[in-house]
């Protein structure tokens, strides 16, 4: 299960009740709000944020809109959705760039939020965008934190600047100079994890801020954070006037209510999400899409975007033509697997598809190893077999399974899945390219 889908399920239950009842009276609104309230609380949305949210929606719901509407359930979905979008910020926020390079990004947050890992991801992302980033090790407290950043930097091919355990302010200043004279356009400063109530360490951050005047100060927050997210975010924001938030570990099964809470108490945009352990597992945060995700309506836009990036254009064009001709072969199937793998976890993708929120899809159900097996099977086929799978009868199946080191059942399963996919492709064609959900 992915982000917010648990919350989505809960909300859906509420809405299906509303729809089934037809027109709403005040009592029913109240009942519905009680369930929404519980759903949000269980999702770890801060309780005062929930209170606000409920009172806003109730106010709207009590107006004529719902009572007079034809499908009251849809109306409430719309209202809740709008309100969620509003809470999380209504547009997606990009990284600011300094007018005079280097752009300085300072990371901050509690211990274990994922700052160092995120530094590596940001570095990799910027590098991919053609920038020349420099990572700076300013966590002088945690044992081996500097080593960790060095390894992370090495893995993504980004230089790491470190001056041992000297004062972070000094290291940061020297790093900026180093960047200026060596043509680095972005400096990412990793800082030690600290409690927001640790006055000395908070002052250290203020000092670094004063010394290097960061373009961005990004608060890294664990998406699993509970009610305290509000206190943490408020304090960091008050002391450092942060410019944005990064939400990490969104690949867990947390409902991620912290996202709503933080945005509503700080007013600062959530800029990125960490969605896995790989250096490429970083996404831009889209509040509107996230709201869709909360409601279980799917996130087709994000899916398409990811797919576009993963699948190279040529293969895409070919695929398009294949779909048009309803001439989908096992070779195309293979290309699909490859791009799915590039896109990240299958479960993650599936969950973004509209309608999939209804099904409990977890990593358990979609075994990535099985995908690997499927790939081996297709690779063991002849060209002719891949283009005309219908010729694969029992002796061919035996040969293919032996060649790929799999069982005949595996081969059968693959062929069956292929057929289903091809059928879906045909339906898509008839549906003018829309997914048949």
């Amino acid at each position: 299960m992915g982000v917010f889908s648990g919350l989505g399920d809960k909300l859906k239950r509420v809405f299906s009740k509303l729809t089934a009842r037809g027109k709403l009276d005040e009592y029913e609104i109240k009942q519905a709000m009680r369930e929404i309230r519980i759903a949000l609380l269980e999702a770890d949305v801060n309780f005062s944020v929930v209170k606000d949210f409920i009172s806003k929606i109730s106010e709207r719901a009590k107006g004529e809109e719902i009572v007079k509407s034809v499908t009251p359930g849809q109306q409430v979905v719309k209202i809740v959705h709008d309100e969620l979008v509003e809470l999380m910020g209504s547009k997606n926020a990009k990284l600011e760039v300094a007018s005079k390079p280097p752009t300085v990004i300072m990371m901050c947050g509690l211990q274990g939020a994922g700052k160092t890992t995120m530094c590596g991801k940001l570095g990799a992302l910027l590098k991919k965008q053609g920038k020349k980033p420099l990572l700076v090790a300013c966590d002088i407290y945690r044992p081996a934190a500097i080593n960790q950043l060095q390894v992370v930097g090495k893995n993504v091919g980004v230089e790491v600047f470190e001056k041992g355990t000297q004062k972070p302010v000094k290291t940061a200043e020297q790093a900026i100079k180093h960047a200026e004279s060596n043509g680095f356009d972005t400096v990412i400063i990793d800082t030690a994890g600290r409690l927001h109530i640790n006055d000395d360490l908070m002052r250290e951050l203020e000092d670094v801020k004063k010394a290097v005047k960061p373009t961005e100060i990004l608060l890294t927050v664990d998406a699993m954070t509970g009610q305290d997210a509000v206190t943490v975010a408020t304090t960091f924001n008050e002391r450092l006037d942060i410019s944005g938030v990064i939400l990490t570990k969104l690949d867990g099964d947390t409902r991620g209510g912290a996202a709503l809470s933080i945005k509503s108490v700080t007013g600062k945009p959530i800029k990125f999400c960490g969605t896995g352990e790989k250096a490429t597992d970083i996404e831009v945060f889209h509040p509107d899409r996230m709201a869709n995700r909360i409601l279980g309506m799917g996130d087709i836009v994000s899916l398409v975007e990811k797919a576009q990036e993963a699948m190279d254009e040529e293969a895409m064009k070919k695929m398009e033509k294949r779909v048009k001709d309803a001439n989908f072969t096992l070779d195309d199937f293979l290309v699909q697997f490859e791009s799915l793998k590039k896109m990240g976890g299958i479960a993650e993708i599936m969950q973004m598809l509209p309608g999939m929120g209804k099904f409990k899809i977890s990593d358990k159900d979609i075994d990535e190893k099985r995908i690997e097996r499927f790939k081996a099977i297709i690779c063991s086929m002849t060209k002719k077999e891949r283009e005309h799978p219908e010729i694969i009868k029992s002796s061919r199946r035996k040969r293919i399974s032996a060649g790929s080191g799999t069982s005949i059942q595996d081969v059968n399963q693959l062929l069956k899945q292929f057929e289903q996919t091809r059928d879906m492709m045909r339906k898509m064609k008839n549906n003018k390219g829309r997914l048949p959900f």
């Binding site: 770890d44 274990g112 044992p143 960790q148 699993m224 009610q227 867990g252 209510g257 912290a258």
Partner: protein, 300 residues
């Protein structure tokens, strides 16, 4: 700073937020619906979770009726009793050789906890071997080596990217041959919904059983006190993969309320064994229910 004082300080923050509201409630108020509504919100905002909050309140109302309590002050006593009961588990007596495996999601403080545990056992006069089986995170073994030096105990490690189960195998052979009393196994942080990583953990668990059948086994999950209701899911799935014997609740020195352990104790029946109250090597204490509950409910 004494042990008790340290926990108290850590809990003070837990308490401050809740206790302020509780105090407002408890002093001379009237027992009515509004009182319970407010109480519900207080418990919810402490990360106790809606299900457990509801059950606590049901029990509370029941007791209040039964004992004919009319003053909100007296409700406090009952509330403490109820919370105490939820958290009260009998812990097994430790026997040696002992193997403790530490697991949990990323960033909760597993490595730090291992360092503190090693120090505790060493101080209690036990021989300790640390096994660095987090072969995934960059420089994890380096970090653990620093802790091993601080605690002055042995450490068994291999290079980054080594097979974790193989490191554990090595570590256990070494611990056995040295006659180590306490073997502490650090594992990589993993999200509980990642099937492959949980399988890896199961494998490590099996290796320990196979290679060191004579040892007493304890598996602890480390939970970050700032975590919300997701901690339930963490305990649930880790418990499903490897039997979890107890919880180490870390970062209680922040403002996080840690109330989710009440939900976990109630719904998953896994006890809290230790609490982490700071970054120093001595900042790990045995979980004390009375202190914890008192810290949440009482004011000073």
């Amino acid at each position: 700073m004494g042990i008790f004082q340290k926990i108290k300080n850590a809990l003070k923050k837990t308490k401050d937020a809740i206790a302020y509201r509780l105090n407002k409630l408890f002093t001379g108020g009237v027992l009515n619906g509004e009182f319970y509504d407010e109480l519900e919100m207080i418990l919810l905002s402490a990360d106790i979770g809606s299900e457990t909050t509801e059950s606590i309140l049901d029990d509370l109302k029941h007791e209040v009726d039964k004992r004919h309590i009319t003053k909100t002050d007296d409700v406090r006593v009952v509330l403490k009793e109820i919370m105490h009961d939820i958290l009260d588990f009998e812990l097994p007596e430790e026997e040696y050789p002992l193997v403790i495996m530490i697991a949990g999601v990323n960033g909760v403080g597993k490595t730090t906890t291992i360092g503190k545990l090693a120090n505790n056992y060493k101080r209690a006069g036990k021989s300790v071997t640390i096994v660095a089986a987090d072969t995934f995170r960059a420089a994890a073994a380096d970090q653990l080596t620093v802790w091993a030096e601080r605690a002055n105990v042995r450490i068994v490690k291999q290079g980054e990217g080594a097979d974790a189960a193989a490191v554990v195998y090595d570590g256990l052979q070494s611990a056995k041959s040295k006659g180590t009393q306490v073997t502490l196994i650090d594992t990589a942080g993993r999200l509980h919904n990642k099937v492959n990583l949980m399988e890896e953990l199961k494998k490590i668990d099996r290796v320990i059983n196979r290679e060191f059948p004579k040892a007493m086994r304890l598996n602890y999950i480390v939970l970050d006190a700032t975590t919300g209701q997701n901690a339930l899911s963490q305990v649930d799935l880790f418990n499903e993969a490897i039997d979890i014997d107890g919880i180490v609740l870390t970062k209680l020195d922040g403002t996080a309320k840690g109330g989710v352990v009440l939900a976990i104790a109630g719904e998953e029946e896994v006890p809290v064994v230790y609490v982490g109250v700071g970054e120093g090597i001595d900042d790990l204490e045995k979980f004390d229910i009375d202190d914890f509950v008192s810290g949440i409910v009482d004011n000073e």
